[in-house]
């Protein structure tokens, strides 16, 4: 509808970096597979954890200082930091008129925030050890 007829050359429509775009797409699919497993484990854990009421002490006792849970949640955070910003990038590119570089910058910041904040929780819990 609004397609410009004065495209500078035939490459303008295909997106500037086919390899990068494809790798991002692939990274989002692969992280989705990881997230699929992580979310199921996470949901089952929530259902089991709330059986006897929810308390910080109980969560800390289970997760705190446990290398397996720390590794699990670290993988979870990494997968989210990869997956969500790529999706956000597509939404911003489609639904806003922001320039591509601005969108990339915003999504990079989103990825960094998700990673740093997520990892902060994971490492703090690990440092707490098995009790408050």
């Amino acid at each position: 509808m609004n397609a410009p007829n004065d495209m500078p050359d035939e490459f303008s429509a295909r997106g500037p970096r086919p390899a990068t775009e494809t790798r991002l797409w692939l990274a989002q699919r692969l992280s989705a597979m990881v997230l699929g497993v992580c979310v199921i484990v996470h949901l089952i854990t929530i259902v089991i954890a709330v059986q006897g009421g929810l308390s910080a002490a109980e969560i800390t006792q289970r997760v705190g200082g446990n290398p397996a849970w720390t590794a699990f949640y670290a993988v979870f955070v990494i997968a989210i930091s990869v997956h969500a910003p790529i999706g956000l990038r597509a939404v911003l590119a489609e639904m806003t008129k922001l320039p591509a570089r601005r969108v990339d910058l915003l999504c990079f910041i989103a990825a960094a925030l998700l990673f740093v904040l997520g990892m902060r929780v994971v490492t703090k819990f690990h440092a707490l050890g098995g009790g408050l």
Partner: protein, 241 residues
């Protein structure tokens, strides 16, 4: 003469502005939407512009938006789409209007070219025929998408095209996928680079508006999914650089 009629709202405009104009058209047996539009042009207002050629679902030139959905009007029966006797006919979405129901299809077909939708021969007339068996897997995959008539219905029905004007769209990508599966073609690397990325197959959200509306019952979404797989492998091998 008190014959049964149908009320038809037809978009009249010059591309910049326009409005719906109502016409009363006699209802006939086995009447198609194209019959209705033709009746208006021949009997009521000969300034109405629209496009058609074959009238039998082969040429792909008569597509319009009928009661909100993109359709091939020559094969769309009024009884099927307007059971309550009301018909609204508009130009295809996501294409510039030339006049009334005629749309500018240049951008639509330019995108086929941008998707490397042409055959790149690898042999000359002096070579022998290249046997492609109907039973070959690639031949079957190509056959599934090859019957496209280029009507633009899928393109008009695609929300991603509406949101992202440089998106190549389902028809061009479906065409590219049939060629990716042509074992005689020598332009695969350039084609995969052309359809990869955000203006190409990776923009598709698999909403299947194209599948829903395609009058030939093709599945461009499946073709685009094939391109996503093919480009992903090519990216891993470094063939998209």
């Amino acid at each position: 003469m008190s014959e049964e009629t149908i009320t038809v709202s037809v978009w009249r405009g010059d591309g910049e502005t326009g409005r719906y104009v109502d016409y009363e058209v006699p209802r006939m047996e086995s009447q198609t939407v194209l019959d209705v539009v033709t009746y208006i042009q021949r009997r009521i207002d000969n300034t109405l512009s629209y496009r058609y050629a074959c009238r039998v679902g082969m040429c792909g030139s008569c597509a319009m938006t009928v009661n909100g959905k993109p359709r091939w009007t020559c094969r769309t029966h009024v009884s099927k789409v307007a059971p309550d006797g009301k018909l609204e006919v508009a130009p295809l979405r996501s294409m510039n209007v030339v006049k009334d129901l005629s749309v500018e299809m240049t951008e639509f077909f330019d995108k086929w070219a941008r998707a490397e939708g042409k055959f790149h021969p690898t042999k000359t007339r002096h070579d022998d025929f290249d046997p492609v068996k109907p039973s070959e897997r690639k031949r079957k995959v190509a056959s599934a998408g090859i019957e496209c008539i280029g009507c633009g219905v899928c393109y008009s029905g695609c929300d991603v095209v509406a949101w992202k004007p440089n998106y190549l769209g389902p028809a061009a990508l479906n065409r590219a996928w049939t060629l990716v599966n042509d074992t005689r073609d020598g332009g695969q690397k350039a084609r995969l680079a052309a359809v990869a990325g955000d203006a190409g197959c990776h923009a598709c959200h698999s909403q299947q508006g194209c599948v829903e509306n395609c009058p030939k019952h093709l599945n461009p979404t499946a073709s685009i999914a094939g391109l996503k797989r093919a480009t992903a492998w090519a990216a891993l091998k470094g063939d998209l650089e």
